[in-house]
Amino acid sequence: MTMIFGVPMAVFMGQLTLGLVNGAFYALLSLGLAVIFGLLKIVNFAHGAQYMLGAFAALLGFRYLGINYWLALVLVPLVIGGLGMLVERFLLRRIAHLDHLYGLLLTFGLALIFEGTLVNLFGVSGARYATPEILQGGLNLGFMFLPTYRAWVLVAALTMCLFTWFMIERTRLGAYLRAGTENSQLMQAFGVNVPLMITLTYGFGVGLAAFAGVLAAPLYPVSPTMGSSLLIVVFAVVVIGGMGSILGAILTGLGMGIIEGLTKVYYPEAANTVIFLVMILVLMLRPAGLFGKEA
């Protein structure tokens, strides 16, 4: 059997594939954070809670309204994104002129409220969300058995990432958004409704988190605490990629997924720490992040 660094080729390839799947999640979540930070300069600490709300909305929608997975994939991001817009319009906007720290505190507080409320209602054990029938089973890749659903997650998350990148970097709407963050007064003078744009952008970032939540629902037990553990890693990914860099967030997310996956084979004890080690290295050598512009 071919060996790579003392590990059979098949195992190595398997871990690489799983790393990519996890990386796609990191990419999707850090993308939402990057969009929000890049355009609104808000460090959105509620991102993990919004991801969790996405998963819960899918679960409850199925349980009480009979909404199936595919419909949830479309509806839930709209509903949770809409909730995000209300948060932006009635809370975040009031503190937009203050230091960024206030936004961080406010979103952190909101995250605690969302989590605490759901813990009180549903406990912490979590619930199962059934994998849609068409995505059950697995693919034999030769070197591993890959559950079909994970393959789907990879495809769906990457498609969404590319779509977002395209929207922001290659369309007129995206150009407005980017210009609005550079100089919002000038944009307003040109007749662009900047406050509305900001609300929509925040809603879109939140919607991305909710989309990731729906994707995650069949993979992990749906529990109120599922977002908070992920959030810290995702922040590290954003810091490594460079705050506010769209493409950076996507590539770093995938890369970190792979690095973490390989650590799980070679030195599993460090699997939760390796991303932070990379973060420290990056901060020492390139403080603005791998893809960030020097401030």
């Binding site: 059979p8 406990g123 912490v124």
Partner: protein, 407 residues
């Protein structure tokens, strides 16, 4: 005249007698109140196995006891330890210093328990540990000031691992939570598997907590072991079992052995993913009439069936209150001795007794998770396969490293 005299005298005698009785009782119950502090994880990973439900069980015990001991009311304080040893130890220190708490109940995460029992020992107070798993709580960390009630890692390994090897599962791959509890369980399981004629062919120590187990499950599949043992707990176990079912681990001929599984874990995972899993438990709500009767009362208040930890909180509190009543005092040393004197046989514990190391030994049970077809209701989850007698289930005193045991 004589009649009046007589009845007057009788009245005085009765009054004197009753006031004396009252004063003897009150004299030895500090502050004329029995004060109980309930410390547990109320909001994190272990909330559902102890948490607010455990507090309800404690309050049920007090209500069933009558709300007072020899005329002194029973008062309850509660706090969330947030699974932090610091928070737990500081809370208990404050309870003892400022509120004169007589007994601390609950106590879930082993790390919190070990820190709290040190505070209890320094202040000569009393703790009844119901939630913790580590057998070290009454081994190297034993104190004369606490009792460990429901279960520990020794019978978990002894019950499940032995039964699995006897059924032919003789090669094991262990997924271990990388902290004190996981290491203790891993060591106990390894020695039981090897003593029963099996072997450990590999293992991974994963960080605590871990949400994505896919990589570890892949490694377990590659190991060729017949049994994949889960030396972890709570959300980690739930995640590992979910991922194993997604990767078709059991379909490819391997079997899972959960070493610490609570009722709420199985309920959350569902029978489809957990069917036929073997586990060791200290108690099960549906194991007999007595257990069912109590559990149904609990269910009416909480809306969920109780875990063994929640039932154990009721059982230990009730035993404590009876001991306070019998001893006529809440002095921890006297109550602890009184508790050890009485055997424990209630809806929770069978053949229970408290050993000098503070371990409450009682019958344990080997159970198997039902298949969806066998189950008749939302909470009809286990079938009890066999009883592990109290004296065999726990670490024998001859192997104890506890300072209270003469070896």
């Amino acid at each position: 005249m004589t009649l009046i005299k007589k009845s007057l005298a009788a009245g005085i005698a009765v009054a004197a007698a009753s006031s004396m009785a009252a004063s003897t009782a009150h004299a030895d119950i500090s502050d004329n109140e029995v004060r109980i502090g309930y410390l547990a994880d109320m909001s994190g990973t272990y909330r559902d196995l102890a948490g607010p439900g455990g507090l309800t069980a404690l309050e049920m015990a007090i209500a069933d006891f009558g709300g007072s001991v020899n005329g002194s009311p029973i008062v309850v304080f509660s706090a969330d330890d947030r699974n932090s040893a610091d928070v737990g130890a500081n809370t208990v220190r404050e309870w003892i210093d400022q509120r004169n708490v007589d007994m601390v109940a609950g106590l879930v995460a082993s790390s919190v328990t070990i820190a709290v029992t040190k505070v209890l020992e320094e202040n000569n107070s009393l703790g009844l540990v119901s939630g913790s798993a580590a057998s070290s709580v009454t081994n190297e960390h034993c104190t004369p000031n606490h009792i460990h009630w429901v279960y520990d890692t020794y019978p978990l390994a002894n019950g499940t691992a032995k039964a699995v090897v006897e059924q032919g599962g003789d090669s094991w791959f262990l997924l271990t939570a990388d902290y004190a509890f996981g290491h203790a369980l891993e060591a106990d399981v390894t020695s039981v598997v090897e003593a029963s004629g099996g072997e450990i062919v590999g293992g991974v120590r994963h960080p605590f907590p871990t949400s994505d187990f896919s990589s570890y499950i892949l490694q377990a599949q590659g190991s060729g072991a017949k049994i994949v043992g889960l030396a972890n707990a709570g959300a980690d176990t739930v995640n590992a079992i979910t991922t194993a079912s997604q990767f078709g681990l059991t379909q490819s001929g391997q079997q899972l052995a959960g070493l610490l599984i609570f009722l709420n874990d199985v309920h959350a995972l569902g029978l489809e993913a957990t069917q036929n899993l073997l586990l060791t438990t200290g108690w099960y709500w549906d194991m007999d009439d007595q257990a069912r009767e109590w559990s149904e009362r609990y269910f009416e208040k909480v809306g969920r069936m109780p875990t063994m930890v929640q039932a154990g909180i009721y059982s230990s509190t009730m035993h404590y209150l009876k001991a306070v009543e019998a001893a006529g005092t809440d002095d921890p040393e006297i109550v602890r001795a009184q508790m050890a004197e009485e055997p424990i046989n209630d809806f929770f514990a069978r053949n229970g007794r408290i050993r000098e190391d503070g371990r409450m030994v009682h019958d344990m049970y080997l159970a198997q998770v039902k298949t969806p077809e066998e189950s008749t209701g939302e909470w009809d989850l286990y079938e009890i396969l066999s009883t592990i007698p109290a004296e065999e289930a726990y670490r024998p005193l001859s192997e104890s490293q506890c300072k209270l045991v003469q070896n």
